[in-house]
Symmetry: C2
Subunit: 355 residues, 2 copies
């Protein structure tokens, strides 16, 4: 039997809780501790906080030091912030105990171009403490960067890469619908956009990961966020959630639970990232999530020799996939040389079970 890999979960927001909930069901992985300094989390029972269906006997610690007193984990799963500058001291605190890090931090997925100095610092710290650090997730980390890069392996020439991630938010949880601005007036949407809460972080990191691997020098990037506006023709039907199986009343108009979005209001968000090489748009990443999206999919289009178009019909559920890739990355990260790694530096991350 494969040795159990011991993990500590750091950060118990919605995503951190989902990771714990999956990790405790996964064979080959043992959750031995959890950390979150928030007053409503530290000191709480992990099973209750994460709504686990079994008792794991772990109390949430307020900090890493107290969490690992009894038992040292192999890997820390770090789900706290999206921002690189903010996560560096958190990583520093973890790796000085000789613990590897797999993080959901979007800006850590490929920080080498935007933050070369911080990246070098992380890389040196990792080597000093003989650990590996990886930022990953479904996006950035997989669908819009690693996967198109992998497809170019069978290309003799690559001229441009476009990835479209088109999601129908009707079937997603309410916080996700809120996050994408579904049901807002365009004025409200504009305010939220201004406040920065609608923006998906990671398109620029994906662009840099692709370009770096292709050997392309990016002159500039764009990241353009606009509302998807509901049209009566485009969103004529109630979404699945608005037809509860128990026959309870229709949720028409209750947009936050997936009902119909009135024409002219925001049905969701579209964000387009572009990477230019010698003035030419070589990389285009199209991310769109809205209520009532007709043809949800994840599509990769490579123009080159040969052209390749690959599609995952229906698209990939981001929550499920992110938890999966974080846990699946554990095996790869404990077997690599020390340093700051990205998804293209390590053996392919795949599902595994202990045998």
């Amino acid at each position: 039997m494969m040795k159990q890999i011991k993990v500590i979960q750091i950060g118990l927001g919605p995503l951190g809780q989902k990771i714990v909930s999956y990790a405790v069901r996964r064979n080959g992985i043992e959750v031995i501790a959890a950390v979150d300094p928030a007053p409503d989390k530290a000191g709480k029972d992990l099973s209750k906080l994460c709504h686990l269906d079994k008792e794991v006997g772990i109390t949430v610690s307020p900090d890493v030091n107290s969490a690992i007193k009894k038992n040292k984990p192999d890997v820390a799963l770090l789900a706290t912030v999206s921002n690189l500058e903010k996560i560096v001291p958190q990583i520093e605190e973890i790796i000085r105990y000789g613990i590897n890090v797999v993080s959901t931090c979007e800006e850590l997925a490929f920080p080498w171009i935007k933050e070369p100095e911080l990246s070098r610092k992380l890389d040196e710290m990792a080597k000093k403490h003989n650990v590996a650090i990886l930022g990953t997730g479904v996006n950035p980390g997989f669908l819009m960067d690693f996967l198109p890069i992998a497809f170019t392996g069978i290309c003799q020439e690559v001229k441009s890469i476009k990835v479209s991630r088109i999601q129908d938010a009707s079937i997603r949880r309410v916080p996700f619908q809120k996050k994408i601005g579904a049901g807002l007036t365009l004025e409200e949407f504009g305010q939220k956009k201004q406040a920065g809460t609608l923006r998906h972080v990671g398109l620029t990191e994906s662009i840099h990961m692709i370009a770096s691997r292709m050997g392309w020098k990016v002159d500039r990037t764009e990241d353009i966020l606009t509302p998807v506006i509901a049209k009566s023709e485009a969103h004529p039907h109630l979404s699945p959630l608005s037809h509860p199986p128990d026959g309870s009343p229709s949720l028409r108009g209750r947009t936050e639970e997936g009902g119909e979005i009135p024409a002219g209001m925001a049905a969701g968000v579209q964000q387009i990232g572009k990477g230019y090489v010698n003035g030419e748009e070589k990389i285009t990443l199209e991310f769109r999530a809205s209520i009532g999206e007709k043809n949800p999919r994840d599509t990769i289009e490579i123009k080159g020799e040969p052209d390749i178009t690959s599609t995952i019909a229906g698209g990939v559920n981001g929550d499920i996939a992110t938890c999966a890739v974080i846990i699946n990355a554990i095996r790869s990260i404990i077997n690599v040389t020390p340093g700051l790694k990205t998804m293209v530096d390590i053996p392919v991350v795949s599902f595994f079970k202990s045998v």
Copy 2:
């Protein structure tokens, strides 16, 4: 500017010639020597033999020793045989000069299960000589093993994996059509099947690569080869090649050039590989190539959490992709630790250009 990677091509059959023809056009790669002991190749001018559109000033050497006297390559591209036992002494001869090996040898793509002793021997030899060895190609090596494995990276559970590689041979070169038995009577097909010349080598290697990565212990494999039989309804039209653009006569009946296959004859070959785990069929690899195939595609179907179905519409041309992956693998293989590697042991193979 990136350093030029120096390569030697060993084996100048149809595929070896294609690799040379692509490698000399590729930036970042320099072909410095070529070897083939065949009397019609050794001593010949490489540019003429491979129909290159430029002079590379290389005479084909009869053996490795004489080929590398002047200039030591970084990597040998070895395209000689499919059989592992036969390729081991060839690899031995190359690596004692400290040269890394990327080979098209199908049985080298994942030899660890079928040939554990030879695999260990290769691994030890590679480490002794401080080089890395990789067997790859489009299939085995990418479409039916590496790629489905990569997709499982976003899965929380994997129950079964099916890969379908369905090719329309109408648009492929004549040797490929002959190789798949298109136009043969069923009796002739049976004779060729008996002689072993129709069989695609590599399905079992792909099964073992997938299973090993998933942590599945395969009890047994199957590899079932049958003809695809032409039906008048299924193949009513002349294939593209039978309508030459210059208006020359229809090639109806000239099956070897892509014409109509009479009903009841072989239009091509189907080969199905199956991998059983605890008696259950967990891995299914369907390889079909025939004249007039309606819906050519490469499809991966993962049953698990979530289910994933990914399709490359039209499918991937095997010749182009194999040359690409062999050359693209060079960068990965010169940067890894020594040993016998497979596509799942090394950083993702991708297109690259020198900058």
